[in-house]
Subunit: 162 residues, 2 copies
DNA sequence: AAAACTGGTTGCAATACGAAACCAAATAAG
DNA sequence: CTTATTTGGTTTCGTATTGCAACCAGTTTT
């Protein structure tokens, strides 16, 4: 993957992508969230080449997103389980899935279903909200560059006071 | 990017990554959300090679995430603006940024700040919630495979009735 | 004890990447 | 209004990453 490392960028998104920005990483994490634990699971579910899978798993372990643990059932192999860091990616995974369901759904419908366990209903769209849970429109969300870091756009070049 | 296309996979996440899974795509989209509109903005902000940027922008336009529009201020060039599809990726972008802020923050702090515009306070963590806005713990969120599609794990092989 | 499976590793070829050079058209400067 | 600079690319090239197939030791099943 690593043609150019994003790890020296200040941007949090870039730094995150440095961990999970690889083609397969997020799919591996999703499978882990769905219960995959063993090499063979990932390989069969994803149809990924074995050497690539080895490489991705090693990266994810090195990045603290997965960890290797002895097999729970006494077998000799090790298993891959999500760390807290890894589980904390759930919003990203779910948001990607929801976007896909909405905009690029497969004709046969989605392959995974995310629900509120209690009610069994589909999970509401993951979306910016106020602290009290109220949904926000995108224009109610402010995104700005912190001190100095940031882009040069005409508005900012001209110090446009919009 | 496209070594193996994910577009034939049923999984929504894979299909989404087929659009934005490339190294730079999400960073370009983030910059677009921050106000970048011109080729030079993206290039300078990201430090991306020009040929790669050309390629990514074309892909994003082809995927309906960006569109080319005449420059708003009468100049001859065209500008790249997010479509509704593109803006709808905001939760993904924000979730990635929040994860990065939490787990892999740069020593100098985040470069972008996302706020509730009204109050100016940091945007609460994007996270699964019930329809009424109540936060959910991860074990209150159900993720399952739809009919048949899905992985082979021991639990499912053995039809473990957990 | 033999056969099959698991979890890899090692080439190899194809593809995608970044860097640098180059270029026509559009802007800006003098 | 003539020249210099910027913009928005394209082309070429060398390197890095990927998928595929073959192979292999150790584990598990038959």
């Amino acid at each position: 993957m690593k043609t150019k490392s994003f790890s020296d960028m200040q941007c949090s998104i870039a730094r995150t992508l440095d961990h999970v920005g690889s083609w397969w990483s997020l799919l591996i994490i999703r499978d882990a969230m769905m219960g995959a634990r063993r090499f063979k699971h990932f390989q069969r579910n994803l149809g990924i080449a074995k050497n690539t899978l080895t490489s991705r798993l090693n990266d994810l372990v090195a990045g603290g997103i997965l960890e290797r643990v002895p097999a729970a059932d006494g077998y000799a192999h090790e298993e891959y389980v999500l760390t807290e860091r890894g589980r904390d990616l759930a919003p990203v995974i779910i948001a990607l899935g929801q976007w896909g369901d909405k905009w690029v759904a497969h004709e046969k419908g989605p392959s995974t279903v995310v629900t509120v366990r209690e009610s069994g209903e589909p999970l509401p769209r993951i979306w910016p909200r106020r602290a009290d849970g109220e949904l926000l429109a995108l224009n109610e969300v402010g995104m700005r560059w912190a001190n100095g870091a940031g882009p040069i756009t005409e508005t900012q070049e001209k110090e446009d006071p919009s």
